[in-house]
Symmetry: C2
C-alpha cells in the first residue's frame, strides 16, 4: 500500500520558517515527554493560530540550553496563509524567547532536515577573569587566558573530510557513517570574546560541542597539536574530548 | 558636636569596587523597602564575607531594569582585605547576575558619587521587524526603520552645556541646577543595533532615558530638528519627551 504522506497531499500547503530562540528555558528543540521544548511551543502556537494539529520538522535537534539564531523548520497546513500573517500570528502567540524571523511557502518536497546542504554553528567563549553577567546564558565562561593561536592551529587539523567518530556522543543511535566534511572551522578573538565558527554539510550528535571541547583543551595547553591529530585518527570517543557546555552554542544558519 | 563619619575613622579601610550587573531581576541599584536591589545584594554579600554591617555607596542610582557594565561603589571595612580576595569572595557569594570586576583600596576621601568627574551611559536599540530573543532584556525593540541620520543631527543639537530641565523627571526632588555639560552624545548603527552613547560630568534623574526617548521620536520622524531645539530651549518637561524603556540602558563607565 502506498500511503500519501501529508507532504504529498495536494490539499496541503507547506511552509518554511526561520526561528531564533534563547534555549535557556527549554529542554532543547525536539518534543519530549514531561518537559517543554521549542518545537512544542511552536506546535502549540500553530494549533492556536490555525486550529490545525501540526507537526513541525526542524533542520536538526538542538540540546538543552543551546540557542539558535537561524533554526529552520517546515510544516504543512490544510488552509493557506499569507506567509507574513503566519509570522505575525506566531510571534503574537509565542513567548518572547522564541521569535519567527521569516515564513515562506515552499514546494511540497522541501524538507527542513533532508534538503539542508550546509549548516553553521557558532560557539561563544567569554575569556576573562570575571564573567560578563549579561552573557552568562549565552557564552561559556573560561577564566584563564586561552591560547587562541594554538586553537587556530588545531582547528586547521580538524577541518576537512574526516571520520569524526571521536567527536560524537552517540548513546542510543545507529549512524551509517561518522565521516563528515567540515567545510570551515575558525577561531577568532574580539576583546574578551572568542568565537568558534563551524560549517559542514551536517554534524554528528554533539559534534560541535565536542570540537569546541577539544579546542578549549588545546587553548588551555592541556592537549597538543599532535594529540589532536592522534585523537582524530583514533576514531574512538574518550574522555580526552569533553563536550563543551551548551550555553555557548548557537545554531547560526542553515543553507538549502 | 563634630561626629566622626566612618570615612574619617582612621581604623577603617575604604574600598572601591567596579560592578557589572544584569538589572532585569532588580528594582534598581539603591536599597528600597520590600524589593530586591543590587546595592542590597552587595551589602548582604559583604556582611557574609566580612561579618561587618556595611553601607555601600554607588556612583549613582540606576532604575529598575537598567544594567551596568561599570558601576562604581565604595564602602568602609574595619578589617583590612587584600583587594583580590574581596573580589573573589564577593563573586563567590553574589548571584551570577552581579559580578565584581575589580576591587581597590582607596584613600578615605574617595567617594563613588562625589569624586566622579565623568560618566558614560550607552543605550541599545534593536531596530528590526523581529526582536532578537537573546537581546530582549538588553535592548529596546523598535520595529520600524529609524532615521539614524536625523538622530545624529538631533544629538549634535543636544550635546554641550545646556539647561536640561526638559529632560528630567523630577517628581520628589529639589535639584539646585538643571544645567549639565554633555561632553558627547553620539548615535551609531551596526547592523540591526543602534547604540546611543552619552557622556557628561553628571546626568539628571532619568536624563539619559529622556535624551534617548527624544532621539527615538526623531528617528521615527515624529519630531523635527527645529522641535528638538525648541524643546531644549523651553526648559519644561512635557509629553513630547518620552522616557525610553529601561532595558536598553547601561551605565557604562565612571571616571575619577
Amino acid at each position: 500500500m502506498n500511503e500519501l504522506s501529508p507532504s504529498q497531499d495536494v490539499s496541503a500547503f507547506r511552509f518554511r520558517i526561520t526561528v531564533a530562540y534563547d534555549g535557556t528555558a527549554y529542554a532543547g528543540w525536539q518534543v519530549q515527554p514531561a518537559t517543554m521544548t521549542v518545537q512544542q511551543r511552536i506546535e502549540e502556537a500553530l494549533k492556536s493560530l490555525t486550529g490545525e494539529t501540526v507537526k513541525v520538522h526542524g533542520s536538526g535537534r538542538t540540546d538543552q540550553g543551546v540557542h539558535a539564531a537561524g533554526q529552520v523548520a517546515h510544516f504543512d497546513l490544510l488552509s493557506d496563509w499569507i506567509p507574513g500573517n503566519l509570522t505575525k500570528g506566531l510571534n503574537a502567540l509565542l513567548p518572547q524567547d522564541i521569535r519567527v524571523f521569516q515564513a515562506r511557502r515552499v514546494k511540497p518536497d522541501f524538507h527542513a532536515r533532508r534538503s539542508a546542504i550546509k549548516k553553521e554553528y557558532r560557539y561563544f567563549i567569554w575569556n576573562a577573569p570575571v564573567m560578563d553577567p549579561i552573557r552568562r546564558f549565552y557564552a561559556t565562561s573560561v577564566y584563564k587566558p586561552l591560547n587562541v593561536k594554538a586553537m587556530k592551529a588545531a582547528a586547521r587539523v580538524l577541518v576537512g573530510r574526516h571520520d569524526f567518530a571521536a567527536f560524537t556522543a552517540n548513546p542510543n543511535r545507529v549512524v551509517e557513517s561518522t565521516v563528515r566534511d567540515v567545510y570551515s572551522l575558525s577561531v577568532r578573538r574580539t576583546g574578551n570574546l572568542i568565537i568558534i565558527r563551524a560549517s559542514s554539510e551536517g554534524f554528528l550528535y554533539k559534534m560541535v560541542r565536542s570540537l569546541a571541547g577539544l579546542l578549549l583543551r588545546v587553548g588551555e595547553g592541556a592537549v597538543t597539536l599532535d594529540e589532536v591529530s592522534e585523537i582524530l585518527a583514533s576514531k574512538i570517543r574518550t574522555a580526552r574530548v569533553p563536550t563543551a557546555p551548551p550555553e555557548g552554542l548557537f545554531l547560526w544558519r542553515v543553507w538549502y
